[in-house]
Amino acid sequence: MASENNVTTTGLLGWIDTRFPLTKLYKEHLSEYYAPKNFNFFYFFGSLAMVVLALQIITGIFLTMHYKPDASLNAAGVPVAFASVEYIMREVPFGWLIRYMHSTGASAFFVVVYLHMWRGLIYGSYRSPRELIWIFGCAIFLCLMAEAFFGYLLPWGQMSYWGAQVIVNLFSAVPLIGPDLSVWIRGDFVVGDATLNRFFAFHVIAIPLVLVGLVAAHIIALHEVGSNNPDGVEIKKNKNADGIPLDGIPFHPYYSVHDILGIAGFLILFCAVVFFAPELGGYFLEFNNFIPADPLVTPPHIAPVWYFTPFYSMLRAVTDLFTWVMVASAGLGALAVLRARWPMIIKGGAIAALLVLAITFRVFDAKFWGVVIMGGAVVILFFLPWLDHSPVKSIRYRPNWHKALYMVFLVNFFILGYLGVLPPFPFGQAYSLVGTVFYFAFFALMPIWSRIGDFKPVPERVTFKPH
């Protein structure tokens, strides 16, 4: 028996509310969702990510009306997929605009999401009780990477083709099943029509469905526990008589209006790129991708699009030498376990596992470990909530050397990204090795270093100056 719900609305809204919780949802997620009043610049990027997602879905729908995922050659000897993109650019009314919005949107998505992640990192937004928000967010980031990778093959240019060739061949490095796995992914023995068709399917339906579901989970989890803020203070600890947080303001109208300002600022920059520099000097659209895919000739220099380059640098850093670094790390880990105050059985097991791992680092090809390192660089983010043991959430109340360390982490990530754009050269290779070790050490040693130092007292209420 359905319980009676308390519908206070009347008329059409009342009719709907007795059948669908419209007013309830509106209140829970907008008019009575209380967000901290001290949000700063970095808090624009969550809503901006939603805007870009909508932009990508809408422009994507219109692109599929003209695009053809077909690798066969047309009468002029040009691959049909490549020709259909040129057709969109030259013949479809406003096709150039829709396509440039979609290609610029891909890069904008990563700009916005990287800033959003950085915000979470420095203000401790992943800490209890927000672990699941962070995990859903990391899954969104993974989906986004997959979405970008699959989408990049579709124009069927030289970079599309050879980029997919290199990345799919990474899977052939997996021991035992690798070669069969890469054939299964391609659906052929080389990147070809079968590959293009399935990448199209993943790009336009499979991944977007998962992505939208994860975004919903991300927001539901956020609205369940409430937003963090730059002070890392829980606003729900200080409520008024009505149970409303003293430092909270309703999302609508305060933050809905505030976010429109952010969207306006974003659109100015976005349109500037779309209309005046859609290729952005080869960073958003690589020049070699204006040449149709040629399975017989690799372009002289291939690099992924900018948003993948930090991880690509890590992949390239893993040579035979790096596997020795990994062996040494496993050894150091075993030594640390030896000194830990754990029961003997767990200690022995952990040490044995680390030593076996150290051996496999040398048994399998460095090529395989490169793939593992690249994937691990993203996977390690999922564990962040349990790696950070600092007594305060926000960077504002951490020791100054923590702030310096986060800046080094950021600069290191930028340098790795820049090196990933360049062809390999000896100094770059050496730096990538050090940078990769730093990236992993930052997270792996966080349980130790995040406790150390003089933390500043965290205020009871958020810091906020009315203006």
């Binding site: 050879w162 060739q165 290199v166 799919v168 061949n169 990474l170 054939v183 299964w184 992914i185 391609r186 659906g187 052929d188 023995f189 080389v190 070809g192 079968a194 399935r198 399975p295 017989l296 000739v297 690799t298 372009p299 002289p300 220099h301 291939i302 390239r316 040579t319 035979d320 090809d365 460095a366 090529k367 062809p423 390999p424 050269f425």
Partner: protein, 212 residues
């Protein structure tokens, strides 16, 4: 629902032994249903494997090699991959011995891309003059570029004797497609099965023992 009276819309509560029996059957049904659901993944995932058409493609390719000048390279497509036929000069062949100590696998003993027995020699070919090799790097599948000029070149060192260079990750190969040591590529370039139909004509993808 704070009333204590029994809910008559539900049949009489079963005894505890009946409840546990029902639970057992529920778990059994759930497990069988789960297996059936998982089994539907098999045809879906298998559908992604290469179709019969893709498997049967890749017929041997006949190539006219009479028109290749000394030091020239001809590219033909076989199974969607570039195959190079290189007519090597005596100088190119002489370089093979000089750099042999710098190679990862000079005798082509590794088995990831097995070298046909008739090419398991220093020049990795049937006739020393003509190299037939798949122009795909054994690292991540880029197509290397020919660097036949000798001497100092960026990325190749001062003592470069000529060969091939992969622009993607910097592996280099000698004039017989053998990979240099300490490079990302683990294996020498693949030598496909091939045979001579006449002095000026070869077929790639097929030899006396059959098709590759």
């Amino acid at each position: 629902m704070s009333q204590t009276s029994q809910d008559l819309s539900f049949p009489v509560q079963p005894s505890s032994s009946a409840t546990s029996e029902r639970r057992t059957w529920l778990i059994a049904c759930g497990a069988v249903g789960g297996v059936a659901a998982a089994a539907t993944a098999v045809p879906l995932l298998t559908s992604m494997a290469p179709a019969e058409k893709a498997r049967s493609a890749g017929a041997p390719v006949e190539v006219d090699i009479g028109d290749i000048p000394p030091g020239g390279l001809k590219t033909v497509e076989w199974r969607g991959k570039p195959v190079w036929i290189v007519r090597r000069t005596p100088e190119m062949l002489a370089s093979l011995e000089k750099i042999e100590t710098q190679l990862a696998d000079p005798k082509s003993d590794r088995t990831a891309f097995p070298t046909p027995t008739y090419a398991k020699n220093r020049h990795r070919s049937i006739k020393p003059e003509f190299l037939v090799t798949v122009g795909i790097c054994t690292h991540l599948g880029c197509s290397p570029v020919s660097k036949f000029d000798t001497g100092n070149q960026p990325g190749l060192g001062a003592d470069w004797q000529g060969g091939y260079f992969c622009p993607c990750h910097g592996s280099n190969f000698d004039h017989a497609g053998r990979v240099f040591a300490n490079k990302p590529a683990p294996d020498n370039l693949e030598i496909p099965r091939y045979m001579y139909l006449s002095d000026a004509r070869i077929v790639v993808g097929k030899d006396e023992k059959g098709e590759a």
